[in-house]
Amino acid sequence: MAGKLISAVFGVLAVCFLLLPLVVILPLAFTSSQFLIYPIPSFSLRWFEELFTTPVWRDSIVNSLIIGAGTTILATVLGVLAALGLREKLNFISAPLNTVFLLPMVVPAVVLGVGMQILYAKLGLSSSYAGIIIAHTVIAIPLVIVSVANSLQGMDTRLELAAASLGAGPAATLRHVTLPLAFPGIMTGAVLAFAVSLDEVVLNIFLAGPGQRTLARQMFATLRDSISPAIAAAAFLFIAGTVLLTLLVLLARRRFSGAR
């Protein structure tokens, strides 16, 4: 009984700890004041207007969407292929290869950033969309691999044998059986990839030119010189976008598991 109470209290505290920063910042998105302070004088959407009309903010939102979409597509395609490939028991190379793919999760972004900056200078990829998208893809791929591998692991391999016995070649089996069954994992991986790209600042600092400044990077910059409530509005967009994506995944999973 006491144990239950303690864990309940602890749970509530943990949730507060996680949510409090959001609760503090979000209302400020709707302030009419010039400053990022309480109390809020009156309700206004002026900072959202600012976000969507000022070129720096608007461009950074567009950049975030372009880079996020590019990363999502590239990381998902590569991640799905890698997860499928890693499933084959290629005895001696599978295990080390797996580690290599998951490495970007543990390598500090700063280290990656330095390395890529040098590499990109040689390849001529510095300050380009392609360069940023590739960089984000590197850190997003492990997340896709892990979530896709997870749903592949839960799949009965005899389903693929059954498909073959019923006349489906390797491509048809992949299309009609393997990928549909891995769909929840692919969906989760794609959303995680998008979220990682949105959130990424460190690599952007190293690799992006002014032309690829993303929303997160712009917030970071703004925070340093002028603390304007536009940051709160940007934060609100972030949260709203993330919640929306999460709902989307839940919905997709729900539909899928309803299908089972």
Partner: protein
């Protein structure tokens, strides 16, 4: 001339040092129901996997209709496979599952619908065609798997313990259903099981496997009445084994001197010469019990237990130097433990094998 549908010629499968299937020669007749029966780990599934093309034979050749198929991938072998776990596609409805093999063969939409309906009618599932597999009972899923494996009219259907997950009553019903379908569609069926009564019920022939080798392949009747080896005699049903040696021949019957003392008169098998060590086998239901000794084949025994088993009475006996068991009608006299009686059987009910 016998029309062989499938021929396995010297097929061997090894996993590392383990020889799971050892130089197997097996001819499967067109339209026959062949059961592969054997204890766990005897290589039955492995043989089926090689037939379906899911695993390569380490050595040897597999022929279908006289053509070697070793290098043909599974999806071009045109064999229906039914798995123990059913392996239905969870993201498709029953109708979509059954339509899958037709879709893969590029059959037109209208024809797919017609054939799916016919297949579902055949397994009495037409009413459930829009359900997902998860919304079906085990028996219903089994029927869907069957319909899916048959709808594209494969010449060969491979089944790996397809009834293993069903309860007894449903299993027996499905055994009869599958047998009936087999007869009606003229299919060649290779059916893996480790349930000997299932094999006896369903098969035209049974191949009894032990450690990757065929111990005996024959009709259920021959397997049961005339087992070739001790392994078969003990694996199929229950049996009494008595060791001895051939003492001579008399009037078309062989005489066996039992190690435990006493003489048996048994059905002669000319291939066994006098002096040969043999095992005399008698099924429990062929053993008669009486208070007075019989003229021939009479073994003095003491009743150790008498167990009521519903449709019959199982009587455990201690003879000289060995135990015996008899299966009697439940209305027969009940023997109390300790009773000294005689066990006896007719010469033609005793089958002799080498130990």
């Amino acid at each position: 001339m016998v029309d062989y549908h499938i021929r396995l010629d010297g097929v061997t499968k090894t996993f590392g040092a383990l020889r799971v299937v050892d130089n197997l020669r097996l001819d499967i007749v067109r339209g026959e129901f062949l059961s592969l029966l054997g204890p766990s780990g005897s290589g039955k599934t492995t043989i089926l996997m090689m037939l379906a093309g899911f695993q390569d034979a380490t050595e040897g050749t597999i022929y279908v209709d006289g053509h070697m198929i070793n290098d043909i991938p599974s999806h071009r072998r045109n064999m229906g496979v039914v798995f123990q776990s059913y392996a239905l596609f969870p993201h498709m409805t029953v109708a979509q599952n059954v339509a899958f093999p037709l879709k893969m063969r590029g059959v037109g939409r209208a024809e797919i619908d017609a054939r799916v309906n016919r297949a579902l009618d055949m397994v009495q599932l037409a009413a459930l065609s829009e359900r997902r597999p998860a919304q079906l009972s085990g028996g219903q899923q089994q029927r869907v798997a069957l319909a899916r494996a048959l709808v594209f009219e494969p010449g060969v259907v491979l089944m790996d313990e397809p009834l293993g997950a069903l309860d007894k009553q449903l299993r027996e019903q499905m055994q009869l259903d599958i047998r009936e379908l087999h007869g009606r569609l003229g299919l060649t069926i290779v059916f893996v099981t480790h349930d000997q009564s299932e094999a006896l019920t369903m098969s035209d022939r049974i191949a009894v496997f032990n450690k990757g080798l065929i111990e005996q392949i024959d009709t259920p009747r021959m397997i049961y009445d005339h087992p070739a080896t001790r392994f078969v005699a003990e694996f199929i049903g229950e049996t009494n084994l008595m060791e001895g040696e051939i003492a001579g021949r008399e009037g078309g019957e062989a005489l066996i001197r039992l190690d435990s003392g006493g003489m048996l008169r048994v059905r002669d098998r000319a291939e066994f010469d006098a002096g040969r060590r043999v095992l005399a086998t008698v099924r429990p239901e062929k053993v008669e019990l009486s208070e007075a000794p019989a003229a021939i084949n009479s073994i003095p025994v003491a009743v150790t237990d008498s167990i009521y088993q519903g449709d019959h009475l199982r009587v455990q006996l201690q003879g000289p130097g060995q135990r015996l068991v008899a299966r009697r009608d439940r209305r027969a006299a009940e023997w109390t433990p300790g009773a000294k009686i005689n066990a006896t059987f007719a010469p033609e009910d005793c089958w002799v094998i080498v130990p």
